[in-house]
Symmetry: C2
Subunit: 233 residues, 2 copies
């Protein structure tokens, strides 16, 4: 594993669960949703069906809270065979609105790391999801001034990264991506010849999980984001 | 009114209702929605309340079909005092999904104009709304190759345009915007010193309407997009 990052000139940060808490709020929402439907199905079944529904709708809705809300409503109708109450539908709308307007919680070490790298590298935010949602979170974070560029991508596949780096005129070999998702923030970068550091968050959305057998590219995994400063000067 | 566009080097096109049909599908959806709720309220009242709901939710949801679907569901609950059937909620979800996957219908003259300007100007698409939705429509349109840059903005205010032109290194005085919305595609551009051409679509979302008394900047209005070629060489 090549830990020499001396030629790196630009660093991209994922946002959700890398710079700030996100997945936790989805887990809480799923918990409440399962509770709302326990007259109809077991919690485990509700969880499973909601996830299936999100996957079925992913191509149509993309990532983000609004699509999640719509999938919760559709699941509630189906799991209850349309017997769910309209009060419950109303509560699902509220759950989603609470998620959208949730207070932003920065993760440990984020400001320390950005301050440490500031002025030495071109720093970017590369996130996926809902455009307005991500702009709002970045605004709330107070971190805007550290970043040279912010890009909200509709997906984080190899082609999305390649196009963006080309557009920003960043040589692939000089780019390092930092994020919590092996599937979205690490593997596509390694596959296009860039570098990537994995900083796991304590919970990962099932859709972002990858089979360890599927990747044999070595990469650096950090327990804490602030450890990144040990590898970059 | 200065109709000399000889110093223009870059032209931005709005997308919805400028390059392709969009508003028509919202009108059709609103019609069906009003029909679904006619047991509870008059069509006119349903229309009014849905629009109010969309405006209340605009800051939270932004523009696009998913937010429209969520606002329809919330309105249905409120207008019926939660007596609406869950089948109707299911139908609202279907209406939205049909909108998202609707066949794309290019407006008259679009290809002719883009072919005519191709190679002579830097051509951009500047649209607002849902990122994935707009990317999908552009893909379906087959127009991608004409454009040097596509930007999906979370809003189309003066600041959004100024930032983007700066980022793309396009001098404001060399930029011409073309679109169907006075509020979003014309007035903010005139206010920052750029140029703009208005090509009205037969129907305009109430939110995009402006009081004629509010603007006294003169601008060119075209009945057909293809007339644009008469002003650009």
């Amino acid at each position: 594993m090549d830990l020499d990052f001396s030629n790196i000139t630009a660093i991209g940060f994922d946002a959700d669960d890398t710079l700030w808490v996100n997945e936790t709020y989805f887990r809480q929402a799923e918990d409440e949703f399962a509770g709302l439907l326990e007259d109809f199905e077991t919690r485990n079944k509700v969880d499973q069906e909601l996830f299936k529904k999100e996957m079925d709708n992913l191509e149509l809705y993309g990532y983000g809270i609004k699509g999640f809300m719509l999938s919760m409503i559709e699941s509630a109708l189906e799991l209850s065979d349309h017997r769910v109450s309209t009060r419950t539908i109303g509560r699902i709308l509220e759950i989603g609105k609470e998620m959208i307007s949730h207070r932003l919680e920065l993760l440990d070490g984020v400001e320390e790391v950005l301050r440490g790298l500031n002025g030495k590298y071109r720093l970017l935010v590369l996130t996926k999801g809902d455009l307005l949602d991500q702009e709002r979170k970045l605004e709330k974070s107070g971190l805007m001034d550290y970043f040279h560029h912010v890009e909200v991508l509709s997906d984080k596949k190899e082609i999305n990264y390649s196009r963006l780096l080309e557009h920003l005129e960043i040589p692939v070999s000089e780019f390092l991506m930092v994020g919590n998702s092996l599937k979205s923030d690490v593997l596509p970068l390694l596959n296009i010849g860039a570098r990537a550091v994995h900083v796991p968050f304590h919970t990962t959305w099932a859709h972002e999980e990858v089979d360890p057998a599927q990747h044999n590219n070595s990469h650096l995994t950090l327990n804490r984001l602030s450890d990144l400063l040990n590898y970059l000067h």
